[in-house]
Symmetry: C2
Subunit: 336 residues, 2 copies
DNA sequence: TTGTAAGCGTTATCAT
DNA sequence: ATGATAACGCTTACAA
């Protein structure tokens, strides 16, 4: 009763079925405009009837294009995996890839596989690659840009190197954060800065400094952390120990801000009454803390999506914006 | 001065260089044992010198194997992306894939792409697939198991269906958690259970019940949540409102346990003095809560790794354990 | 143990 | 606008 069992149909079978040559079928499949509509639709019908699906390998071999895009993520400190950001970026990437015929190949890069990865990327296995920030040291990919289309998420420390980057505007975000503090009546603003070896660390500190200067205020004390909760606590203690007065703290990320919470409280300071605290990242922790942390939310999904869009442009048109910056959004909660 | 620029070397070039046939080079590349060592090493040297890398597409076309494994994750509620578990699973998968020549193709499945995904999997684009639990509804993949090697992470509700599964032993973990509570002097143990439509929800409740029964204790009250913090708070209120006495709460996950914290405290109960609280998952929140939450840690990295191992066995030997269960570990912190 | 040669399913270059 | 017909780089019977 049912349709006769059939092997996986090939382009050749479709050609026979439609009474045309393989070349024509190929043209129809690839949307070549120079095919007579009558024939095209006949071929399309055959394709449907036979349930034909092109063979990727054959196509790739003949066309010298893989139809695949690599997503390279650093395994470094396995941080990426606990990082909700990464997930959002991937979600954004996936959402645009969904509408294309590209396939997403994931490459987790550990130090031991760095060479393997580079080879993989340059040996024609993929049509392009998305590199999510290694924060530091991704300059090693710089040269690769010449051999295969590459888009970076997050700018390397040394700034655009001719590579295509999509990044969040950390400077503007930090400015917005500190301005908000000022608008809410704070005048002596301290900061817990991130590592000055990473772009976000640098930019967020610079944004703080700039706004304070422009407002003609006296900067509060500065302490440095490494983006961990623990370092945030330590930094908060340093701030307190500095002897300088301050009525607000701008932390370069939520974890450090939250690390500071208990320290400030132990010093007898109430948040936000005695001291305002501003985070950065809108991490899950910021919602559930006491009080909930006011923070800057970064558009990570959009960042992923934009990376994918740029890469596809690069692959298909050999053209893309060298740098796209996305704006963060301030999330008002209860710490300011 | 430098070595002459050369095109991407092919197997044929290696053959010429080594003075053998292409077949022999192919054998060496694929580790066929029947190659004379002398010749084999000569070929290997040529491969090195020419910097030869096999062309995946060609290989795939000729061998009818893709060298790719799909990782299928549900986009559902975009929960996956905020879920640190997922990241750990991927890390585990990646760590074993690293030592193989398989490539990891990531497929984010939204409802609108379900068919596309199924087609993709069955059309020979991949040699096998890893399906991370959709909790519910992944039975739709059941039939696919016959057409392409599949390994599921987390068992579907209806139990093993002939498919290969790797899962954490939720039952044993729940038993261990409740036993620990008993060992620490608690005798009236309430529980905040998860949805009874999900395997983990069911098993964790069952473990709680079993241990209490075996210990000859009177069960404390039961309330249900949906694994969210909010539902945990609500459930805690129900527990309190039940009028039944209890000196401990076993929650089916950390978020619900933590959701209960403030509720219990408002009721004048001190943790762990008046009431012990036991979580499940070892989520990041459990470390930073006040007091830190004692909980069950699931080996998600190992789960990912085991999934990958089983799939590779399935692909290469057509054999695998139908069900592998991994044991959770109790993490002692301050809430018991 | 090694070589020969026939595919694998497309794309792409020519003619027509 | 369409059709032959080479590639594309490798695997794999089968022969030697």
């Amino acid at each position: 009763m049912g349709p006769r069992e059939m092997k996986k149909p090939t382009l050749e079978m479709v050609a026979a079925h439609a009474g045309v040559s393989r070349a024509t079928v190929s043209r129809v499949v690839n949307g070549t405009p120079t095919v007579e509509p009558t024939i095209a639709s006949r071929v399309k019908r055959s394709i449907d009837e036979l349930n034909y699906v092109p063979n990727r390998a054959a196509r790739s071999l003949a066309s010298n294009r893989s139809g695949a895009i690599a997503l390279v993520v650093p395994e470094s400190a396995s941080k990426v995996f606990t990082d909700p950001f990464f997930g959002s970026v991937v979600q954004g990437i996936a959402s645009v890839m969904e509408d294309t015929d590209f396939t997403l190949t994931m490459i987790i890069e550990s130090e031991s596989t760095a060479d393997k990865t580079r080879r993989y990327l340059t040996d024609g296995n993929v049509d392009g690659a998305l590199i999510v920030s290694h924060h530091t040291g991704d300059h090693s990919y710089g040269e690769l840009s010449e051999k295969v289309p590459l888009v970076f998420g997050g700018r390397p420390v040394e700034g655009p190197t001719g590579a295509t980057c999509v990044d969040v505007d950390n400077l503007a975000a930090a400015r917005a954060a500190v301005s908000y503090l000022i608008d809410h009546g704070r005048s002596r603003i301290a900061t817990i800065a991130g590592p000055q070896t990473m772009r976000p660390g640098i930019d967020r500190l610079e944004g703080w400094r700039a706004v304070i200067e422009e407002a003609g205020l006296t900067p509060g004390p500065v302490a440095y952390g490494d983006f961990t909760t623990l370092s945030g606590a330590r930094a908060a203690r340093e701030l307190l120990a500095s002897g300088e007065a301050f009525d607000a703290v701008f932390a370069a990320n939520d974890q450090m801000a939250l690390g500071g919470y208990p320290v400030l409280r132990e010093a007898g300071l109430r948040i936000p009454d005695d001291i305002a605290v501003m985070g950065f990242d809108d991490s899950p922790f910021s919602e559930t803390s006491e009080p909930p942390l006011t923070t800057m939310s970064q558009p990570m999904i959009e960042l992923g999506a934009e990376m994918a869009r740029q890469l596809i442009r690069l692959i298909e048109d050999r053209t893309a914006e060298p740098l796209t910056v996305l704006q963060a959004r301030l999330v008002e909660r209860g710490s300011v």
